[in-house]
Symmetry: C2
Subunit: 199 residues, 2 copies
DNA sequence: GACTTTACATACCGGTTTGTATAGTTACAA
DNA sequence: TTGTAACTATACAAACCGGTATGTAAAGTC
């Protein structure tokens, strides 16, 4: 387990230097890619000197890892918020697919930030890799709990099939910028579910 | 349509400078990512001077585009070779999923080279983007022809569902290095097909 | 023999990369 | 009032980036 807690000065309150750096990183890294954004640019855009950035995160790799951890936290929040009040299996599943859909059709969508980071961070021991795996495992677990509540005979199997459809839809939506990949994925997921539960 | 034919000197015979550059690019770009491999390193590893590299491809972007075109050509060959002698719909579909499976479990697998390139090449007008789209469209068409021969009422719809499963499985296989993503995708694809054709 | 093509070697260009060193400033607290 | 934490400002280092300039050697071709 890697340290993801704040490791530098400051407490991370909104508007603090640390938070401004993380917000800027989130935007720039996602927009342009991690390697394409230098620490000079990043610090300047965050309204912070490079010295402050290094005081907080130690290295660019450290900042990348912290940025991914923050992104993971926000994604989990999104899932939980979208699932509020959804009770039946199909409603809870719809909440997930609708979250993905909103995301993929939003302005500036450029694929999954974790998958993208995984493509760029080829070093096997990069501190960000762990965060990527944790995020994917989190979503997989979320889906498995829905499949379990539905009474599927092999919940993790069904969850993984849903996950394949979701990940595939995100990839497809990156080229085809409309809602059809998510619609098709959702429909296919429902058919697989109903077949499984004998609906 | 962008020029993808050889644009520099030489004919591209096996062992020629041009071919050596392309082979080296294919290996290094896939292994380490496009941005992480400089032209100095690339030329040195290909046993070629940088001047020769630029005489052949004009720019790094030009080399990237040529490399992607070559990769696309090889992928189409793989699909055709794997489908030789497959006659029924399920056999032809199996050929596709088996090709993906062999690929994802092979040593050094690091995701789809086209998707990865798409992540790295953020510039909308990069000459490689066109090749990426052409490749994805090629695979989609390949699947649609199978679905059509199967007598699906909406072949392109079914093909897209298969494609979602395949792309998702590739993404999942990048983290989970075994054959289960492809097995699951194949099984789900068959279930969706049989449902569609009322089998 | 003159010319073209293809590739070589070497050296250089301006700019950018991550990361550090040093000094000064602001705010708050004991 | 003195100290400390968090920050700014600037300058620098060493390496690397894509790309070019200059010149040479070895082939093939008219």
């Amino acid at each position: 387990m890697v340290e993801t807690k704040p490791s530098g000065p400051g407490t991370g309150e909104p508007g603090s230097a640390r938070q401004r750096i993380l917000d800027t990183a989130s935007r720039l890294f996602y927009e342009s890619g991690i390697q394409a954004v230098g620490v000079n640019t990043l610090a300047a855009r965050a309204g912070v000197t490079k010295v402050t950035l290094y005081a907080h995160f130690g290295s660019k790799d450290g900042l990348v890892a912290a940025h991914l951890a923050e992104r993971d936290r926000r994604w989990r929040e999104t899932l939980e918020r979208a699932s509020a009040g959804r009770e039946t299996t199909e409603q809870r599943l719809a909440a997930v697919f609708e979250s993905y859909e909103e995301w993929t059709v939003a302005d500036g969508f450029r694929g999954c930030g974790f998958v993208n980071a995984g493509v760029e961070l080829t070093a096997a021991d990069h501190p960000g890799r762990e965060v990527i795996e944790r995020n994917k495992e989190g979503t997989r677990t979320w889906l498995a709990e829905i499949a379990e509540a539905a009474g599927c005979s092999d919940p993790s199997d069904v969850a993984e099939e849903w996950f394949l459809l979701l990940e595939g839809a995100v990839v497809r939506a990156t080229l085809r910028r409309d809602a059809t990949p998510l619609h098709r994925a959702h429909r296919a997921a429902l058919r697989l579910l109903r077949e499984e539960t004998g609906g």
